[in-house]
Amino acid sequence: MSRRINIFRPLGVLLIVLALVAVACGDDDAVTTTTGGGDTFTPGALGYIEVAPGAPLEIRALQSISGDTSFLGTDQVRGVELAIADYGDVAGHSVSLGTVEDDLCSAEGGQAGAQNILAQLAPIAGTDNGFTGPLGVIGTTCSGAARAALPLLSAAGSVLISGSNTGPSMTQSPFGTAGENYAPGYYRTAHNDLFQGGAVARFAYNVLGVRTVGAIHDGDPYTDGLATAFADAFTELGGTVSVYTATIADPGDTDKTAVLTEVAAGAPELVFFPIFQPAGDFIIQQAGGIAGLEDVIWVGADGILVDDFLAIPETEGMYFSGPDLRFGTNTSLTGKSYNDFLADYEAAYGLTPPAAFHAHTYDATVLLLSTIEAIAFEEPDGTLKIDRQALRDALTATSGFAGVTGTLSCDAFGDCASQTISIIHHEDPSDIAASKANVVYSEAAGVAAAG
């Protein structure tokens, strides 16, 4: 008796598996919905999101809102909130941001946040590929979080638009091909670090006239990507990268003697260290204690271009690269210029923006909302249907979009920013505002290093 059951059990399992495979491979084709008005809505392969009459249109934010980097993420969440307020209704529907997810500035945070957002997508009963829930995600703050969040969101048919990811690998490689972490559905309104690294290299080689440089990263994708881009560009210009090394980002690692000695052994004239606090603080504070580093020119990037760091006496004489925030009279399609935005920001939150990417995130949000509005299909009863493949296609086709950061055009890999990098010279730690305005070099590009 028991023998017979043992024979049939595998067969049963096999049948169930076959049935599941059949269902899974079955009908993925487009479903045509015919509406009473005679217009037809044909969703693409990624399905569609439906917004019921009177219901808000959902978007989400995945930003670093806790820990050391929370000032970056919070700044950007405010950019999203102001953009939603300025843009107003989308095809008659209000926009809801829901709960902001925390990317923790880490791969774990990015993954967990993406899962939480995807869990809010609910299939609509009776349809094959209709959903209710979030249409897109504004985020992440950190490139490391995006690398983990993007595969999940991309596979689920969503879009992720970041106003601050600058790590090259999510879009393109230095050779103009898809980057290591590229996935469809990713866009950014921040610059690509391939361009920032190149700009710093050109500044060092052409303006400062140095020929031997060093670079320090901390293993994080943002810092590694930027340091590599700098080193590659500098080598291409004909210079020598005599030391390329890494330090430990952990705040408990306070003694930087080892890494500074390694740098000193390479005898560079200039060192580019696009890392974060507090590792950056320890490096600049202890650099004076290592022989051979007395005359080195230190260059940091936007990660340490923050008031706390600039106030350290040892930072005097440093250079910092970062996105050029002199947006002038650029006007977003919401009708706001950067100055209007700043006034709104202060009125709403009672402070000036503490970080650099609020305006880029504002543009990212307006770009998402306006693109949704452009492709949304409205049923006669007011139900809104948004085809997810069409949303991606329309975002990729973005050209001449008016943002406060400039005119945005997306390329095939999702780089949409109007990239301008400026370098400031920090001459007086007691007058940070003057240093921030002391732009000594600026470079604009169309699309960074494509081809």
């Binding site: 293993g219 090394t245 003697t257």
Partner: protein
């Protein structure tokens, strides 16, 4: 013939797992030794060839390592003393250290605002040091009173777990009080920021200050433990609590004193740490605490001089490790390969002798000598000449390098450099 038959029979009689473990440990030792010799020889060779660090940079590596190491040593003293009298590891000791740094910051910041930090530095430092030492001592004594004394009779594992709980409690209590952001210690007076010339060697003022303060504290502690009546009581308790009690020593009082003194040393270290790195926050004590514990084990837990020696060794290893591992980029010349082969042949001969003598405890090592000798012979003649290894971003591996060396040292000498004793039992 008979001997080798006996040897063979003994080998066959041995259980395979024991042999495998012996062999593995032997292999690990040999590998570490080989890499260490290569790294050190390479560093020296590169230095001779003029490709190494300039002499000034070596000076800074050593001074930096010493400053870091003396601070580890000061913290390690607390671990060692508590282990000596109570026989368990007080994992909350890192937080006692952090408390010293944090209090030091709070007081120094206030004095800086009042202008005293610049104008009367020594007096200000005295005040800051006193508050840091007192707060750390008080914290250590409170921890003992609240968390450990009620568990005095419990198995050793219980206070160990309690100490980890205490550690978290203090970390997050400080976070609640001061916040989670980094507190920036005031800029040091100009004199400490500049280099000072000692016997023609230019040393950074602050590092010299750290080293001197640490040495003075340590001499004070050594004299206290070895020369004072209370110190003798501490040594007596660490030898045997019950007998010491019978001799009229108030054991509880001695234990409290031990915590207070260990806490005071951690307080000094905390303040020096905050002055040197100028950043403190609620987790400042975590990593240095773990490392100081390691230093205490390296020097021989329970041994005060050992704790200092362990701390300084760890500090120097951390500072110089990445540079030394950079020595692997030295291309091994042919003669060095031949030398390895000759040593390897010697290893094979030695191994065969050990196997023939068939001492059961050494068979794994004997087989290891034979096998590794054979491998070394081939490596030395065919692979090594011309070999070079470049490790990118070696500075990021500094903790790994330091800890691998520590593992290596403990494999060879499990009781630590100076052995595990707070007091040497004197018997006539």
């Amino acid at each position: 013939m008979t001997t080798s038959n006996t040897a063979l029979r003994r080998i066959l009689a041995l259980d395979a797992p024991t042999l495998a473990v012996d062999f593995f440990l032997f292999a690990l030792k040999m590998f570490l030794l080989f890499v260490a010799v290569w790294a050190v020889a390479g560093t020296i060779a590169l230095q001779v060839a003029g490709e190494g660090l300039p002499a000034d940079a070596w000076r800074d590596v050593v001074v930096g390592g010493l400053a870091q190491g003396f601070m580890y040593g000061l913290i390690a003293l607390g671990y060692s003393m508590v282990y000596g009298v109570l026989g368990f590891i007080n994992f909350a000791h890192g937080e006692v250290f952090m408390a010293g740094g944090m209090t030091g910051y709070l007081v120094a910041d206030a004095l800086f605002d009042a202008g005293m930090w610049e104008s009367a530095f020594l007096l200000a430092f005295g005040i800051v040091l006193l508050t840091a030492v007192v707060s750390s001592s008080v914290m250590a004594v409170l921890i003992e009173r609240i968390a450990y004394r009620p568990l005095r009779g419990a198995p050793r594992l219980i206070p160990l777990i309690t100490s980890i709980g205490m550690s978290f409690f203090i970390q997050y209590a400080v976070r609640g009080l001061v916040g989670e952001s980094f507190q920036t210690f005031p800029q040091l007076p100009v004199g400490l920021q500049e280099r000072v010339s000692i016997l023609g060697v230019e040393i950074e003022g602050i590092k010299l200050f750290v080293i001197c303060t640490a040495i003075v504290s340590m001499i004070g502690l050594w004299a206290f433990v070895n020369r004072s009546k209370t110190g003798r009581a501490i040594r007596a308790v660490s030898e045997d609590k019950e007998i010491a009690g019978l001799m009229g020593i108030d054991v509880n009082r001695v234990i409290v004193t031990t915590f207070a003194v260990g806490g005071a040393m951690a307080g000094v270290a905390g303040l020096l740490w905050a002055m040197l790195f100028r950043k403190v926050y609620f987790l400042t004590g975590f990593l240095p605490g773990i490392k100081a514990f390691t230093a205490a084990v390296l020097g021989g837990i329970g041994n005060l001089v050992g704790a200092m020696l362990g701390g300084v060794t760890l500090g120097l290893l951390e500072a110089s490790g990445p540079t030394l591992i950079g020595g692997l980029r030295w291309q091994i010349p042919a003669w060095a390969g031949v030398a390895v082969s000759i040593i390897a042949v010697g290893g094979v001969v030695l191994g065969l002798r050990i196997v023939r003598r068939a001492e059961p405890g050494r068979l794994g090592a004997g087989l290891g000598y034979v096998l590794f000798g054979a491998v070394g012979l081939v490596l030395g003649l065919l692979v090594l000449p011309g070999s070079t290894v470049t490790i990118p971003g070696a500075a990021q591996l500094k903790d790994m390098i330091a800890f691998i060396v520590l593992i290596g040292v403990l494999m060879i000498r499990p009781i630590g450099l100076l052995g595990e004793r707070l007091a040497v039992e004197e018997r006539v």
